[in-house]
Symmetry: C2
Subunit: 533 residues, 2 copies
Amino acid sequence: MRRWNGWGDEATVVELPAHGAAFLGARLGAGQVLPDASLEQVLAQVPASRLAAHPLISTDAEVRVRHARGQSLPDWLAMREGRFGQFPDGVALPESAEQIRQLLAWARAQDLVVIPYGGGTSVAGHINPQASERPVLTLSLERMTRLLELDEESQIATFGPGAAGPQVESQLRARGYTLGHFPQSWELSTLGGWVASRSSGQQSLRYGRIEQLFAGGKIETFAGTLEIPTFPASSAGPDLREMILGSEGRFGVISEVKVRVSKLAEQEQFYAVFLPSWEQALKGIRSLVQARVPLSMLRLSNAIETETQLALAGHPEQIALLEKYLALRGARAGKCMLTFGVTGNRKQNALSVKQAKQLLKGFGGVFTGTLLGKKWAENRFRFPYLRHGLWAAGYAVDTLETATDWGNVDNLLNQIEDSLRAGLAEEGEPVHVFTHLSHVYGQGSSIYTTYVFRPGQSYEQTLQRWQKLKHNASQTIVNNRGTISHQHGVGRDHAPYLAVEKGELGMAALRSLADHFDPDQRLAPSVLLETHE
Amino acid sequence: MRRWNGWGDEATVVELPAHGAAFLGARLGAGQVLPDASLEQVLAQVPASRLAAHPLISTDAEVRVRHARGQSLPDWLAMREGRFGQFPDGVALPESAEQIRQLLAWARAQDLVVIPYGGGTSVAGHINPQASERPVLTLSLERMTRLLELDEESQIATFGPGAAGPQVESQLRARGYTLGHFPQSWELSTLGGWVASRSSGQQSLRYGRIEQLFAGGKIETFAGTLEIPTFPASSAGPDLREMILGSEGRFGVISEVKVRVSKLAEQEQFYAVFLPSWEQALKGIRSLVQARVPLSMLRLSNAIETETQLALAGHPEQIALLEKYLALRGARAGKCMLTFGVTGNRKQNALSVKQAKQLLKGFGGVFTGTLLGKKWAENRFRFPYLRHGLWAAGYAVDTLETATDWGNVDNLLNQIEDSLRAGLAEEGEPVHVFTHLSHVYGQGSSIYTTYVFRPGQSYEQTLQRWQKLKHNASQTIVNNRGTISHQHGVGRDHAPYLAVEKGELGMAALRSLADHFDPDQRLAPSVLLETHE
């Protein structure tokens, strides 16, 4: 069963290995464990619903608890402490576009706020109810998960918007196809959520971001149904798909998603290469992508992430052997691990691997074969579970991310890491910070930074620490030519920083669209665009 | 010097070869030649300008004539007859974003209509002044053509919006780079125009459409300057780039364009393959693109286009030899020519060519090497000149285009060709119609149809013939799941058909943006969105 106060299925437990605990202990001091609340304690706080009875709406307390929070660190702290703040007044569970339209009409008649809800995996406060005089209805798409149609000739699949990653892939794979969209949240996040938040998957280098995969579909708005046809491309004015991508529930509820799918590839493999320094590694990864070598994924850990990953892997003897091998070949302290993947037919893959190896050799790359790549692939969705292991050991972990042009990647990365590393200096608390680049483009790269710190004496103090770290890093990002998000979206947490990149005029344009589709600001108010009265 | 009443430079003359004239004569009857007006006759019609004097604005009659019309067939007929209808009251020639802002402020103060003007190559009525109580100022970007900055690390080039294809490429090639955007209008059309109309180039398979190449820039609007930063990707809400792409001058004037550029490739080659039938050819091209063989261009002519091209090539003996060779290998009557290109490093290109040949062999493909491919590359921008040769021989030619999903390509193509072929049946006039697919995607393809017909006894009758053909074909397209344009844009000619694909709600959303950026409907009124009062 899915955890009510954390990530994923209860059956999956990822503990922090002893070696990893020692590694963190040496850097952050002994862990600080805070007490967890029980589900019963939380259920006792759920107030009476303000909603009239409706056949499609559950007002059950546990259902409301389970749809009240996402997966940001503030969400985590609230769930662990058992102080949820607001709960939705009810959770609607429609099974069709028609039922979504009925629910929206009812919401207008009853003067409700409506929060569209996919997998509940937001790390930016997309789905948290706010205190509101209007009752809050969370509209979950979890019953709309089916593959409705697969056009094999056009390679377009039509899905219910609530299909989570495994539901998408299993239904497609049964027919020989894949969407190829694998965000780290893949186990729980949904197709509709990916579209609404402009998600990106680990193999975007081959399959594209959700912007490239989203072919069209239906969006139910308070101004009517928007139906977006599936042209492969068009020059007929601004693209309506792009209006919905990143709309984060503000303009409407996605009721049907059409996606561009691919035949399952003949072969897929992942390889690890170690580069002797960050400088060399950065040049290597940029050269690879700018040379258009047809790879399906690229992920470059900086030196601290490489060191941390090897420490947390939990096999110190094997790691020691690996490090000895690498050192002999020139990759010593400061080395950076680059993982790359090829997906396609065998001959093309062989050429791609050969060209990648050749090119990386020019930057001192030490090739280690497929073993570590296989490990990466096996564990690609496990990282979110590690928050549990770290928390139990007395450490809080969060991530943040951006993207910028190549000419600014190193600068911005350093500024972000510095801002986090020094963020709790006033309190004398160290912060362990490391980074990888995992979505690379001809023009630049995403920057994905993880930071680990000790909780304070209380939940409140812990939240304050997070707020300080997050605010400083967010300011650092937008003031240094980074986007406030490359793959997590805006939500409420990033909304205050959005105007720096969109400009006041751009913000006003987005507001004019929100006013057009949702004149009463009934949908996910203050998400994406801060509330304006 | 550029022709005032037709395509391109006066020095370039493309005549219809005798063999081609005979071919058309057999299909359409003897040509019907209509008399051309002289520039002097046209200049005599230009009325006095209604504009006050302004240092950045020319009210010279010839300048106004040269900015009054695009390159649609109605434009051609108007220019040839010398009945231009409306002229702009003046042409502004700014040299900087600051001057554009000054001109917009002046236009507001003077209550003018403003038409942003790039290369004047619109084939959909984007830049034609309409009768208007407000004086009309055409704002030409032809003095803003410079490469302002080239960030080689991030592979981003900053250009003035008025840079035409050759200006873009020559400035980049001098530094070892290419944009790789080659629409057929490349010699005259401009970067700003490509962005505003969502253009696509012949090698979009490698370089992407202008949507993928446009990285950001500046747009001067009546609500202020919109500055779009250059992130490689972002999930921070709807993408403002996509709001400007396809805005066709309705929202603002593009004053600076940043584009994603590539290093010049080591090798580029084009090959021709003949497929024995349209059915086989269609399957072949779809297989190629769905298998993701890294090609840089694909163009498939249907049987009639193949036959027409070979007839119009003007070397009947050589063509006869080619046809003999093809027939021996199974490509006889009904054969279809497929041209494909590879651009990249030699090893990758060799593998791509090998895989393409192998795959096409499975569909009966007869490979002919690089000779015809070279011809295609040499002549890739000559087709628009052929209108002159055809007109002189007494034939009118026009093209129209759309895109649709693979499952609908054959159906839509046939419907379009049928509608054109039978379009003048009431008058007993045949129409020669042929088609190619030149932009292919995993999900579908563009459909590019050329139609040749005889002018009537008068210009008026000729225009009526065109209107009938164009209207029927446009209806056919939008009523059969095609987009009203894959690469030419909407302009005024396609605006009446746009609502079928955007829906009333989508149209209203676009209108809300137009109202936001241009509340007085001063910019290119009735382009893209029909005027609404």
